[in-house]
Amino acid sequence: MEFSMSDEQRMIADTAREIAEDFPPEYWREKEEKQEFAEEFWRAISDAGFVGIIIPEEYGGAGMGMIELLIAMEELAANGCGMAGVWYLVLTEVFGALSIVKHGTEKQKEKYLPKIAKGKLEFCMALTEPDAGTNTLNIKTTAKKDGDEWVINGNKIFISGADRAGGMLIVARTTPKEKAPRRTYGISLFLVELPNPAIRINPIPKHGINYSKTCEVSFNDLRLPEDSLIPPQDEGWYLILDILNPERMSFTTAAIGISKLAINKAIEYSKHRRVFVDPIGSYQALQFPLAESYAMLEAAKLMNFKAAWLFDNNVNYREVGSFANMAKVVAVEAGIKAVYWAMQIFGGYGYTKEYDVERWWREINLIRLAPVTQQMALAYIGEHILGMPKSYRV
């Protein structure tokens, strides 16, 4: 067992911290308020090679793994960027680069990866559908063969970054569920360049994370060449798991990073803020919940790194998923508590935009719902780890 970071990993953390310090909470307050994409930040992390961490060197990346990506994400988030330190990297590097690195054809790798590594091509993933939700296998979007082309039709929802991405990973059914020999059969993945006139994109106003747009997407006879499929056809479900597990780990890291940011800001304030005689930071009522959530966050962090280690060492998706789900459950519970109490420490000021903690509250609120709800993660633990009966019918 080895818990220490390598020199390289420490340096990645240092760089991430330095970048985060140049993009402090007030930068994100403004971007969020104006609902603007953070171009300067994206340029900075691209130039520093963060978008290529998991891309092999022959395609212009660093050839590292999820562990290094999570280290970078946490430091960015915890040192000022909050969710933004994770979000943009998830969309482009996890949804885009990782799916291609893991399963793309040589031609697809050559076409997309070098551009992604430089930060010149943003990505998004069109998976979730209005009538499917977490029940991914129930998706209705279809891809049908017409001569040597694929024709895609259907509707997607909550597709973040679709408004500006140059690339999209589409998840569609190539064999209808009714005709599939098993539920997981018949799902396929496709890569498409955006914009495309057959793809309509409509942003959905939302609660937080407004430096990125989350959209409804519809495909209306979208015609794609044969080689836009990520093979093998119909077996895409297992390929998606290699994206969804890292996505889960990234969001766990976001919960940890956002919480640490909020905790640190609250601690700083609590040391100086006096309402009665002593600084409020001396009150156990405020210390204990922060201490408790901090301890849980550190525990979740270890478990999340374990999930990442398993993933980087090609252990099967189910074992990776177990640790990724357990880490997510713990991190989010602890994170909600941490940000709640950080806000409590600020009192009325915590409700103002100027103190940023309300924004982190809105950010952490997403992670209890996405990538899956806490309840679905618990159901996974109940069924797949504890061996209890499936608690919902499919």
Binding site: I12, T15, A44, G52, A62
Partner: protein
């Protein structure tokens, strides 16, 4: 030697100090030393600009950048290598707060090397002496300029702008080889990139032992600045005014 427009490459040495971060909380262990516990070290801020300037000059004119550091400074040397320096020299000598000793140690090592230009930060963020660069230049008998805010290589010469007080500037031409100390803000230092971090792994950090017996500075006593106390004056306006006058007289203000 024809450097710059002639297209010949530059051999540049950069001095980098692993210095206490200014945001560290300083505590004293005793009257002569600082408590190391809880101190955060990083590359001296001015030296970040120095290494960036060296890398830019190398990118423009070709050549080699060597970073050199005194003390226990591997993290800072590694960082410079990750930014783009080609090699590093570590002098594992404890020089404390003595800039003369530091300069002597560097002189011993650097005089064995070929170089066209030495770049140092104007000062260090911990001691603020602004001496190592100038001392080293005089030890090596080199022309030098301090507080440099821009650099241009012209036909074996260096045209630099120096920052003066009161917003004035001075332009100086130095014959290469020479030494400059750079002011912060001369450029925008790049972030260490992930690829740079990977490349740094295979770059050499050479350790060179140097003995310097001379101590130029004797440390007598270290102390934290006394905390300035605030006094709240209460009472009626007349009483407050009277008390104020008394204080001003006592302090010799009026």
């Amino acid at each position: 030697m024809k450097i710059g427009n002639g297209g010949e490459s530059l051999k540049i040495f950069v001095l980098a100090k692993h210095a206490i971060d200014t945001e560290s909380e300083i505590r004293l262990k005793d009257e002569k030393s600082i408590d190391e516990k809880g101190l955060i070290y990083d590359i001296n801020d001015w030296d970040r600009y120095a290494i960036e300037e060296a890398i830019r000059l190398k990118e423009m004119h070709g050549g080699e950048v060597t970073v050199i550091g005194v003390g226990n400074n591997e993290d800072t040397l590694r960082k410079c290598l990750a930014m783009g320096a080609d090699r590093a020299i570590k002098i594992p000598l404890e020089t404390g707060m003595d800039p003369y000793k530091t300069a002597l140690a560097i002189k011993d090592v650097i005089s064995e090397e070929n170089f066209d230009l030495i770049i140092a930060g104007l000062m260090s963020q911990d001691c603020n002496n602004a001496l190592v660069g100038a001392l080293l230049a005089s030890m090596l008998n080199l022309p030098f300029a301090t507080a440099v805010t821009s650099v241009k290589v012209e036909d074996g010469k260096l045209r630099v702008t120096r920052e003066l007080e009161g917003g004035y500037q001075e332009e100086v031409i130095l014959q290469l080889p020479c030494l400059i100390t750079v002011q912060s803000g001369i450029n925008e230092p790049r972030y260490v990139s992930i690829m740079g971090i990977k490349r740094a792994k295979s770059k050499e950090i050479k350790e060179v032992d140097v003995k310097v017996d001379k101590e130029m500075i004797e440390l007598e006593r270290m102390y934290l600045p006394p905390v300035k106390k605030a006094e709240l004056i209460t009472g009626s306006a007349d009483e407050i005014a009277e008390k104020l006058i008394e204080i001003f007289k006592e302090k010799g203000v009026i």
